[in-house]
């Protein structure tokens, strides 16, 4: 869909809200938790980044996304912050929802860090059961996030990690509570491990984390079926490299959250950076999520 940037609202030096309106027609309904892929034109290439929608699911006239300028960004968020202006037209995918609200929950415990708050801003429009939201952020971002949240007793901002006793919070939840996690890798790992240690079943832990494609060492990929050998440059993802070679590689969220882009690994050692593969499947090294994961070995051979 072609969408025009209607408004850019700067919330802090590194956080801005973009209002996107369709160039023509009405927008598809997007349930809370949905994201879109925005194609961002760079000087030498196009970036495809996933952003959660924060606008009301009822709103068919516009989508709102919140973009953080990523330090050492490979390009996408820096362009949106530095070069985009109202009136620009971007290609935006139809919304996909990999992070829906579980409607059987008796209570929702929402736990986010940094820009991971964004899907929960959409949740707030429609939550049907009691909820509690805890958000961790840096002190310099506090004002920006506070401006996005209603002032309510069940919504708490924490500006230092010590301010929240996560173990006590999770240990005190009754059986009908579902936990939702969204934030950077490290945050996700700690929160998930704490919940699992307390006996939380996977069925009640919902998580989404985008943006693991931070680049890394260059490596070579051999594609057995296509008969191609490609170099994955440090600032390119494996998926982007496949696409640049004209291959129709599977993908959906482009952020290591959905598992759609998984390809079988025939040899080589993947550097798993996704949130999909179980520890057993990671250890097996039999597949790789091309959108975020890279290689620990100089070469990978894929069945593709």
């Amino acid at each position: 869909m072609k969408m025009r940037i209607a408004k850019i609202l700067t919330l802090s030096p590194s956080i801005a809200k973009f209002t996107l309106q369709p160039v023509s027609g009405a927008l598809p309904v997007a349930a809370p938790g949905a994201h879109v892929i925005v194609e961002i034109p760079g000087p030498t290439r196009i970036w495809k980044n996933a952003y959660s929608l924060v606008s009301s699911p009822e709103d068919r006239g516009q989508y709102e996304i919140i973009v953080r300028r990523v330090e050492h960004s490979r390009g996408g968020s820096a362009w949106l912050h530095g070069h985009a202006s109202a009136g620009d037209v971007l290609e935006v995918s139809a919304p996909q929802n990999l992070f829906p609200i579980n409607r059987l929950a008796k209570k929702h415990l929402l736990f986010s860090a940094g820009i991971g708050l964004t899907p929960f801003l959409a949740y707030l429009h429609t939550l049907n059961a009691p909820f509690e939201l805890h958000h961790l952020c840096k002190p310099e971002d506090e004002a920006a996030f506070r401006s996005l949240l209603p002032n309510a007793a069940n919504i708490t901002l924490h500006t230092s990690r010590n301010a929240l006793d996560l173990n006590a919070l999770l240990a005190a939840q009754k059986l009908g509570t579902h936990l939702y996690l969204c934030g950077p890798d490290n945050f996700m790992r700690v929160a998930l491990a704490t919940a699992q240690t307390l006996g939380w079943p996977d069925a009640k832990i919902h998580q989404e984390s985008f943006g693991g494609a931070t680049g890394g060492e260059a490596f070579t990929v051999h594609l057995q079926r296509s008969g191609l050998t490609l170099e994955v440059a440090p600032e390119m993802s494996l998926l982007e490299t496949l696409e640049a070679a004209g291959l129709a590689a599977p993908c959906l969220c482009r952020g290591g959250a959905c598992g759609e882009c998984e390809l079988p690994v025939l040899s080589g050692l993947p550097d798993h950076r996704d949130h999909v593969l179980t520890p057993e499947r990671r250890a097996a090294n039999a597949s790789i999520l091309t959108c975020v994961s890279r290689a620990l070995s100089p070469e990978l051979v894929l069945d593709f």
Partner: protein
């Protein structure tokens, strides 16, 4: 076997859980598990009509299944996440326990069911014929199990021609 018939795994503790509650309507309780600290076992055992067996350590006996279920619902409404529930017993007992647990907010992965004891079938309503104790209708018992109602389906056997009832087979449990 019809697709509606559940398949049960043998009893085994789910070690991902932090606390464990076992409910059973059978006389045998898992002895080895009874010795563990974070496990409670609830049974229905009487030493005389209406007198439950004494409570010992982590085992608690109720006078009857409905009493056990009333306490179960109350207990689950207060329990913290991390609890695993195990129901061991007849098919109708374990699915009643399952449905109480689901209503309390447990997910399927936190509930473990083990079928044990007589293979008696609770009949809800269309290879066998029973007489409904409520209305006296002759019912044909289908091999169809309802997890929601924790019972088998019975269909009025003479619905087409009232009074024409084939001879019933004897069902031995």
């Amino acid at each position: 076997m019809s697709k509606s018939r559940p398949i049960y795994a043998p009893f085994k503790l789910d070690l991902a859980g932090k606390a464990h509650l076992i409910v059973t309507n059978q006389p045998e309780v898992p002895e080895r598990e009874a010795a563990l600290a974070n496990i409670e076992i609830w049974t229905v055992q009487t030493i005389a009509p209406g007198v439950q067996a004494p409570i010992r350590d982590n085992t608690r006996a109720f006078r009857a299944v409905p009493e056990l279920f009333t306490h179960l619902a109350h207990r689950l409404s207060r329990a913290a996440t991390g609890l695993r529930l195990y129901a061991i017993g007849t098919e109708s007992f374990i699915w009643d326990a399952h449905n109480i647990a689901m209503a309390a907010g447990l997910s399927a992965t936190e509930i473990h069911l083990t079928q044990s004891g007589p293979l008696v079938r609770r009949v809800i309503v269309p290879q066998n014929i029973v007489t409904c104790p409520g209305c006296g209708a002759a019912l044909f018992v289908r091999d169809h199990f309802s997890r929601r109602l924790a019972g088998f389906m019975g269909v009025k056997v003479d619905a087409e021609t009232p009074g024409q009832i084939p001879a019933a087979e004897v069902f031995v449990s």
